[in-house]
Symmetry: C2
Subunit: 622 residues, 2 copies
């Protein structure tokens, strides 16, 4: 560029940055809340990015060639929304609706806005999710789009960031750029590392990244850094920008006590005077180059595995077989696992489709985040690990629901029935945890044919879809021609004289069947329901059972008593007219140790003999 062109470019960057600062202040003052100073520190960085490096078509957010911009520091949403206005995507009028009831411009960004990939606001999530998008970009879409993640310095303390740093290096994600806004001040004072940009750089480099330290308010340095970062060179890049919180306004710059505070009207007036913006302008963002997604193989019908009624097969094995079958039918299916694929059987998929399987190692936050990133790129991700270890990623699952992400999670080794490994490996809270996720689907199959069909349906189901699988081999109960669906159940035994209904799922359904036989030999007939769809529950079948079988249920689950299958059954009745049923919940009441599955289920009070006891005790009362 000539000197004139350079000056003109710098002028443009300056104008945009000032406008972004002014708009961050105006919108938060109008809202009476929000984070203007956190927005102002990153304004110069975003100005250069937006003007000169971001390739995005605001008229076509679905363009696969679009870059991805993720505000991991989601509280800087005023800056993001100001950028949307500057790009011409929203009006100033809408910008002024920030944080108002019904506005698309929420306190932290959500995909209510078509240009927002994922909800942020819980710190330390943007980069791991960015890894997922970058994996899709480099290995599946094979398109050159960049993933730009704006990071705050406080959130670098989150361990999940370092899962992302590690994985991005391992997978050579040179399409991923982290922009670290080191403004020194956290919510309540100085961050741990303050302005020690060298420390951030050293850490990123030790994890294998390029890391460039710059003055986050010097356009030359910003521009150089972005130019470097935009050139793929085999490694991801972190731009470590030393910035000033509240930059541009004298009474805000680097001052404590201003985090998350909007300016008063008077302060706003003073601030705008200092910022001295030119009139509000539009700064069009360059559209991405045209590019084609790779030609995909045709989708084929799914050829699910079929299991023989004479066999015993673990549902976790059926998960693996079915996932592989899905992979053969649909090229968008992607497999992810947390270094336990020989236990979850995701390895079946990994061996068959290595180009679509991404090992996530022992890093469950990154595992779920990668699935969310894949969902951003419209893949159909299936992520698996031990059910107990999804608790490591609960905040990511919670945020994925806010992101309206479509991800499938498979948790194996559920319950005390895993046996000798003991409680650290046992999931006893996962049904409660996953039921309590907005819009989730929760499945707990008892049989491999059932599992296979449900796995296929998981692929077609939106939202967070969770399947709980069992370690132990269990007898095949159903013919592969039997039909199963989300929201369904199976009545395995029923008669006109059912005294009550036993509801089980997964491993306890088998205990329920043993109990049925024992009761039958005692001339007691009961209904037995396999409630393989824990959420949504098969209300119709349960209501009928209540009506026809004494309005009494024994619900048995390999899970703590709170929030699981028992509560799911009860919930069918709480919002309705008519007498509430009698419900006895059999669940795990004490902390298990080691032992055989049979010993542990007996001790937990969820074995066949306990079910029989509970039924008999109930029937005496009636």
């Amino acid at each position: 560029m000539t000197i004139t062109e350079t000056n003109s470019q710098v002028q443009q960057w300056t104008n945009l940055a000032q406008q972004l600062r002014v708009d961050s202040i105006r919108s938060t003052t109008a809202a009476g809340s929000g984070h203007p100073t956190s927005s102002m520190s990153a304004a110069d960085l975003m100005s250069v990015l937006m003007t000169s490096y971001l390739r995005y078509d605001f008229d076509n957010p679905k363009n696969p060639n679009n870059d991805h911009l993720i505000f991991s520091k989601g509280h800087a949403s005023p800056l993001l929304y100001s950028m949307y206005k500057a790009a011409g995507a929203i009006t100033d009028e809408e910008l002024m609706t920030l944080r108002k009831f019904g506005s698309r411009l929420e306190g932290h960004p959500t995909p209510i806005l078509p240009w927002v990939d994922v909800a942020t606001g819980s710190l330390g999530q943007g980069l791991p999710i960015g890894v997922g998008v970058a994996l899709a970009g480099k290995y599946l879409d094979k398109l050159p789009y960049h993933i730009w993640v704006l990071l705050g310095d406080s959130e670098m303390a989150e361990g999940s960031q370092w899962e992302a740093f590690d994985h991005a290096t391992h997978y050579k994600l040179d399409n991923l750029v982290g922009i670290l806004d080191v403004n020194r001040l956290g919510q309540r004072g100085e961050t741990e590392l303050g302005w020690n940009t060298a420390a951030y750089q050293a850490r990123a480099r030790a994890f294998g990244w390029n890391a460039i330290v710059i003055d986050g308010h010097n356009y030359d340095e910003i521009n150089s850094a972005f130019a470097q970062a935009a050139q793929p060179n085999g490694s991801p890049t972190l731009i470590v920008a030393k910035t000033v919180k509240g930059k541009g306004v004298s009474f805000l710059e680097n001052k404590e006590g201003w985090h998350g505070k909007a300016l008063s009207k008077d302060q706003e007036e003073q601030a705008i005077k200092e910022l001295n913006p030119v009139r509000s302008m539009t700064f069009p963002v360059q559209k991405p180059p045209a590019g084609q997604l790779p030609r995909e193989p045709e989708k084929k019908p799914v050829d699910l595995p079929r299991y023989d009624l004479k066999d015993s097969v673990a549902t976790r094995k059926a998960y693996g077989d079915a996932l592989k079958a899905l992979g053969a039918a649909n090229p968008d299916v992607v497999g992810l696992d947390g270094e336990v694929s020989n236990s979850t059987y995701a390895e079946e998929f990994a061996k068959a489709f290595p180009e679509r399987f991404f090992e996530q190692y022992i890093a469950e936050q990154q595992l779920v985040a990668a699935a969310v990133g894949m969902s951003v790129r419209h893949k159909i991700p299936f992520a698996s690990t031990f059910a107990a270890f999804f608790t490591r990623a609960y905040d990511f699952i919670r945020m994925a629901a806010i992101s309206r992400a479509n991800i499938r999670l498979a948790g194996s080794h559920a319950g005390v029935s895993i046996g000798e490994d003991g409680p650290s490996q046992m999931a006893l809270e996962d049904l409660a945890m996953m039921r309590c996720v907005f819009g989730s689907t929760v499945l707990y199959p008892s049989d491999p044919n059932q599992t296979a069909q449900l796995v296929e349906q998981m692929a077609n189901h939106d939202g967070i879809v969770y399947m709980r699988t069992t370690r132990e081999k269990t007898p095949v109960l159903y013919s592969p021609d039997e039909q199963f669906e989300v929201g369904g159940s199976k009545v395995i035994h029923q008669s006109e004289n059912d005294r009550l209904t036993i509801v089980g799922a997964g491993i306890t359904l088998h205990e329920a069947l043993k109990a049925y036989d024992q009761l039958k030999s005692q001339r007691v007939t009961v209904r037995v329901i396999d409630a393989y769809s824990v959420k949504p529950m098969d209300e119709e079948t349960l209501l009928a059972a209540a009506q026809e079988a004494g309005n009494t249920f024994v619900v048995v689950e390999d899970h703590w008593p709170e929030g699981g299958l028992g509560d799911a059954v009860i919930d069918v009745f709480t919002q309705r007219d008519g007498p509430m049923p009698q419900v006895v919940k059999l669940a795990v009441q004490s902390m298990p140790g080691s032992g055989t599955p049979a010993e542990l289920m007996e001790e937990a009070g969820i074995s066949a003999h306990h079910i029989v006891e509970a039924v008999n005790a109930l029937l005496k009362r009636v």
Copy 2:
């Protein structure tokens, strides 16, 4: 040492290491399961540690001067138990009960054993917990004990490790030593970094640690490394030991497919031949030096804050005031927060007792782990952050229950009623999540005087104790002389003509009171219960209400419908005789956005007017 002494020392180390290997194999073969090869790779490291550096009194596990040995790679439990046998703490007979039902020697270590500090088995937790213990050692106990953490290489992918690395440096925890067993092989093949010990070293150094790379089977190098690590020099130390999985047995060494597999009887025989141990011996561990805990100020009676009935005070503020009062009364009370102490009001404690407050920054896994570590050293830790962000640490909370840790967690900013910040900051699943933790206590106060008393009781209560606090200021409801307790409730309104009972807690209790007034003006009398103790519930009061007020409840909560207050009320009745009550649950049914607290509660269906509607609808049916 003389050459003879050196040779003799090496011989001792060798003898012990071989015995540990033999016993790891014998115990797992007897169990038919377990992780012998993962145990064998660390045998030389543990042999040197145990013989020459560990200072521990097995006869007096409560000795405050004891070192702490944490097996973060908990699956190497056979090695740990073999060490206990070698130290003379358990018999060979007990060693052979590994993984059997009723044995103290579970698949992964738990504090059922008096020499185990915390349960491990969910990877990546030992080091963050070790940070907590080390903080106690350096800053509170002021005793020179060491914290030795045996780490696996696979688990270095866990982000939580890097929260620990970061914090250990920040707090200069030179009493903390990580021993990294780099045996290259994870559960299903090579780990991400394989034998790249330089990479681990670089990362640790970038995070500020001393890091020494050694051959994990060379006694000279092991001994030197431990000698260095044991000298405090201002920084924590990581010993990066290149090892061989299955070391010592030719058909196991560095072979894939042996993770988590026990040897058959024949293989055991062959292996023992190769290992060629001398007869089983006892290797006494050196006791720690005598040392005194610092003289503590006397405990004083707690002088709780008192709030005036004319005021409006947020329960989160009362938490902060009460914690400060607790800190003044009891020198064992420790404060921890996740960089939001100006929001949680932990800052009140932090300002008053800076020597007992440890900022954990934006790292919630480390926040909870530090509390667990403090619990190991018999402190009374209170850890706070936004309630929503405790989901980040759910695996640590789950494991803390298995550890039988005593920790107090305070989650602020619960529910849609936080307002404009939006859903990323709103806890809507925390009651379900915390109810589903073994042995937990869950409290949700509606009033500051109530909060203060409950905070005091949290300090005296064992297990995982969780309090949910509200962002908004709410009217003081109770006189400070009113009594509240865990397991209690308050009947605010009752009469002989109560048509039904409204149950609320926290913010919705205030909505319930408004509803009561509206209903009263419509000549409808209802009972109103403040269920501030969500777990355990006040069964007596609820049973009486069922009996006296139409066996009908409207339960209203600022929480998703699953697993929270409504289910807690229902649970009082499920295991009992007698007709189940009619229960209508009012809870948040749709994903909230931004808005004022009033707008959001209205939209969520949990405001006073919705309660009135629900009551009227119910009464029409009766």
